[in-house]
Amino acid sequence: MIADQLNKVVRRVPAWPIYLIGAALPAWLLWLGTTGGLGVDPVKEIERTLGLWALKLIIAGLCISPLRRLAGINLIKYRRAIGVLAFSYVFLHFLTWIVLDMGLLVDQALKDIVKRPYITIGMAAMVLMLPLALTSNNWSVRKLGAQRWNKWHKLTYPAAILAALHYVWLVKVWPVEPFLYLGATLLLLGIRALSKRGQLPA
């Protein structure tokens, strides 16, 4: 079976290279941005790329347990790295916004967070992800107990929906791409809801 073959490979490939590869993207963006490699508006490009990859990683993280349940592919050992990386990108996306895009006009930025729904929900998604990133270590799992830890980490679901809505909400017309991300997020959460109600294999 392909799943068995895959699982065999997974057993031999550790998770730590994900952090390494993950750290390369921001470094690469900063390099391109300071050397003119990101086009006419490097600030927007950095902001967008980090946000988009954060969303991709959030969705990748949501794929892991359905893949195990429905296809027997066990990638669970990568989930922590994917989640921590997703939060790191969200945080860098936020920093890019406040430092490079808003030019540290903190007063104006605070007003925008309160007043602009798409920024409000983006911030909310980041705040929801913060405790998840902070407890993504073995010590926290032990301290909280697996059950409570699991419950806490269900915050991923609202965070994912808010992150996808944040993308849909900022565009001026209705291009397809943001809706594909929102659709994927809702689909993955739908699969969870169904399997919980026993309509899909648990």
């Binding site: 941005g33 300071t34 086009g39 006419v40 508006d41 490097p42 600030v43 950095i46 430092v99 490079l100 895009d101 808003m102 030019g103 540290l104 006009l105 104006q108 007003k111 925008d112 007043k115 602009r116 729904p117 798409y118 909400w169 900022l170 001026k172 017309v173 209705w174 291009p175």
Partner: protein, 267 residues
């Protein structure tokens, strides 16, 4: 591109213009796609010669005019203007063009006319964005007659002393420097004088977010973002923002047009 001959203008700003590359690689021209680099990638296929402009409505000399006829005898000027996009970025562009009032005087505006309406070309086979209903094509814009007659309002046929690049709205486009960029309609094929306020594309798309006037105004926010400041394209990563100026800094020429109007309502 062909060089244009022109004279300098007192209406030009002293600010350093953005580079030709910045101005031609970073465009909103949804007829060619919604990405900022789509116009540069796709606009070269646009045929701009022959080009004719239909002038109709409340005018004395209505007709289909060949572009060359519209431009014959016109003295072009360079107008280095600030350009402020509704998305809160800005540039400085050395346009080459002539006052819209020159054209309106030549075609004879009838006394009952109150507005000028403009339309962009519809040619989906050359404008791939028009193969999708992103906006209700053709792109439409409009000005009140006094705004259209203001000396700052120009029809531009070039930038940086050359014929207009396709992605910037060749062969002829409007420039209204105290309004958000989307008012400055590109690749114009029709100019109509009307007595009622014309429909305008972004207002049709979302009236709450885009008003008919769309004057640059730091005190009236877009419902989804602040208009208090802007990012100048072309700075370094750490250039930050600068405050947005009322009427994009052109208040001394245009503030009178809106005397007595509540600009929070007439946004």
């Amino acid at each position: 591109a062909a060089k244009l001959s022109y004279v300098k203008s007192d209406y030009s700003t002293d600010l350093e213009p953005n580079t030709f590359e910045e101005i031609t690689r970073y465009n909103n021209f949804y007829e060619f796609g919604t990405g900022k680099d789509d116009p540069m990638a796709h606009a070269r296929q646009l045929t701009t010669d022959p080009w004719s402009v239909k002038i109709d409505g409340l005018v004395d000399r209505a007709g289909d005019y060949d572009l060359a006829d519209l431009l014959s005898g016109v003295a072009l000027e360079e107008r280095i203007y600030r350009f402020r996009c509704v998305e809160a970025w800005s540039m400085v562009v050395p346009w080459v063009g002539f006052q819209l009032s020159d054209l309106l005087d030549r075609i004879g505006v009838q006394p009952s006319a109150k507005y000028v309406a403009f339309e962009t070309l519809v040619r989906p086979e050359e404008m791939p964005g028009q193969q999708y209903p992103i906006l209700d094509w053709p792109y439409r814009e409009g000005l009140r007659l006094d705004e259209a007659m203001n000396p700052l309002t120009i029809l531009a046929t070039g930038l940086y002393g050359e014929e207009m690049p396709n992605q910037n709205g060749a062969p002829i486009r409007l420039i209204v420097p105290w309004k958000y960029g989307f008012k400055s309609i590109k690749s114009i094929v029709r100019i109509s004088l009307t007595d009622t306020q014309p429909q305008t594309t972004w207002n049709m798309q979302n009236a709450r977010e885009y008003g008919f006037y769309s004057n640059v105004n730091p005190e009236v926010d877009h419902p989804r973002w602040s208009q208090a400041s802007e990012r100048r394209i072309g700075g370094s990563l750490f250039s930050g923002r600068e405050p947005t100026l009322m009427f994009n800094g052109y208040g001394e020429y245009v503030a009178d047009l809106y005397a007595g109007q509540d600009l929070t309502k007439d946004y």
